[in-house]
């Protein structure tokens, strides 16, 4: 059985189509990354799949249940960590946990203490949620969604605004959950997180632009040339490069400008010419390997252009 399956899933808000005819199939036990720029439809997708938003068209089944017909049955079986977390800041760690667990039909005290211990809340159980650090707030939101042992967990940008070390710790927790057989549906716009997923989907303007493993995603650029130009941010160079034939994306990383072009034997010569015209050394241009970020930027530019 698939954990999530959608056919032509569509949601319109007035004239705007937030999610546009999405077909998706996610297997049980997968860590599935849902990527896209802000406003692409990630959160709307999650709200459709968790049964808090009705689709305008199409169908979706979650854990074998029809979300449109049985949204409440779906809610009983899934966990959801919304972007705003839904924590009560004036309640303690323990109270938040007990409250949410009870909404699913009773809190098993053993399960609650187990979660409190396992997620590092042993010393913070009587602390108000307000007084927790950002990372611990995320953890608390996680365990409030886990108390009823859901087999599918939706996480909407769980690591937004969290420092890299905490982010890594959170991902370790996600893998631990996967290890227990939980399917995870995670939205993010951090590229290094995308690399950690079993499979990914990229959504842009409500439409799925690509689905696959991280390797498959990078293969989308297999017929592209990627170059790195050694330079600090250089506006004239960027303008010149964007005017070149075959250039699909450019992205500045510190002292490196990454350029993605449609494959052509003259690519390097054209870029070198542009670089020297802008006063750079010819040796500053050299080939690179496609990164997830290149895929992200290229797909976004392509979507924006079409």
């Amino acid at each position: 059985m698939l954990a999530i399956e959608t056919h032509g899933l569509t949601r319109r808000f007035g004239r705007q189509t937030a999610v546009d005819a999405v077909d998706l199939a996610i297997g049980e036990g997968e860590v599935f990354g849902f990527l896209g720029p802000n406003g692409a439809g990630k959160t709307t997708m999650i709200r459709l799949l968790t049964g808090i938003l009705r689709p305008s068209l199409g169908e979706a089944s979650v854990l074998g249940l029809d979300v449109v017909r049985e949204p409440e049955a779906v809610k009983q079986r899934i966990g959801y960590v919304a972007q705003a977390f839904g924590l009560y800041l004036d309640l303690t760690v323990e109270e938040n946990l007990r409250f949410y667990a009870s909404l699913y039909g009773g809190a098993d005290p053993g399960r609650l203490s187990e979660l409190i211990e396992a997620y590092g809340f042993a010393e913070h159980r009587r602390k108000l949620a307000r007084d927790l650090s950002g990372g611990y707030k995320t953890r608390l939101a996680l365990i409030t969604a886990l108390a009823h042992r859901p087999s599918l967990l939706f996480l909407d940008e769980p690591t937004a605004g969290v420092d890299p070390v905490t982010r890594k710790e959170l991902w370790d927790l996600f893998y631990a959950m996967k290890g227990e057989g939980t399917t995870l549906f995670v939205t993010t716009h951090y590229m290094e997180e995308a690399e950690r997923c079993d499979r990914l989907a990229f959504i842009f303007k409500g439409q799925l632009a690509a689905v696959g493993t991280p390797g498959e995603m990078k293969n989308l650029l297999a017929d592209r040339d990627v170059f790195e130009i050694q330079t600090p941010y250089h506006p004239q160079l960027v303008a010149a490069i964007r005017g070149l034939e075959g250039v699909e994306a450019d992205n500045q990383f510190g002292h490196i400008l990454r350029v993605v072009c449609r494959r052509h034997p003259d690519n390097r010569a054209r870029l070198t010419h542009a670089a020297t015209q802008c006063g750079l050394d010819a040796a500053s241009v050299h080939p690179g390997t496609p990164s997830m970020e290149d895929v992200f930027v290229t797909l976004t530019r392509r979507g924006a252009g079409s």
Binding site: G51, I52, P71, K75, Y80, G86, L89, R98, S102, A107
Partner: protein, 373 residues
Amino acid sequence: MTPLRAVVWKEFLHIVRERRLLGFIFGAPVLLLVLFGYALRLKVENLPMAVLDLDKSIFSLQILDTLRSEGGFRVLEVASEEDMRRMLHTGEARLGLIVPADLADRLTRNETATLRLLVDGSMPTLAMMAMYGAGVLTGDELTANLYFADPDKDAPPPRAPPIRVDREILFNPELRDTDFFLPGIIGIVIMQVTLILASISIVREREQRTMEQLMATPVSRSAFVVGKLIPYAVISAVDFAVVIGAGHLLFDLPFAGPPALIVVLAVLYILSLLALGAFISSYSQTQPQAVFLAIFVLLPSVLLSGFVFPIEAMPEWLQPVPQFIPMTYYLDAIRALTLKGTGFGIVAKDFAALGAFGLVFTIGAILRFKKTG
């Protein structure tokens, strides 16, 4: 815990954690009751009265004594009318009384003596109360002593009343009974707390963005709405008991009717207000919006429920409006129960109306709360 109990428990925690809110819930009603209660009964106690005594007889002393003891005035003796007018002007005195030099003469001749009363009319209500207090001047207790005591028992009864008071400001007040206001005041202070608490209850979840999370849980809509209202129902009931008790202790509010009926009335009134508040909350996007809506309901409830202006005296087109205000039915019933001491038969229709309000708005609030948008 069942989901319903979990919502009730959590809502209680919110209340306990918010100290200032607790002050508002329990402090404000009693404070307002005391303020309004005194404001609307305002006795002329210690009201300053300047007195120019031109007679200085045993009779005039008697009048001054009566003003102090019976009227409760603070008597300030002055030497001239000029002084008196100055004190009235500055507010040092609210009233001025001029006792004529011929007081003793006239009284001993069984003729009417005329006192002049000057009233500061700048605050009409105060003036009204002051003149009411000055009524002791013509009251039986004083005048009975002012007749010249004729040693001959067969002497003819006096032909004229001994004292006449000429007022400088004419004002003919129609005094209202404080008891008439008090049950209404209790209703208003309870409504203020109950309606506002309920009206921010649901919208707060929306504003703090916990609603999104709740929508994704299997909690039922009725467990959510009813669970959120139960703690406020308990608190409002305690509040009502405190306020009506204070009204009894401070202002001698009578309980003429069966106490059990007053309890039932309180419960129905509170439920109708909570339901109305929850309904307001379900229509609001932010807490300020909800509070504005609550006040929008509060003011007409005070002014159009018959609390101040009798409904019969309103223009015909306006008369249906009070029928959509819970306070109207509460007032009708509480006045009957506390003042007149009527039984269930008279207030049954009020109870039914309040119950209907509670039911309709609770269902409305539950239906407005959508778990799938």
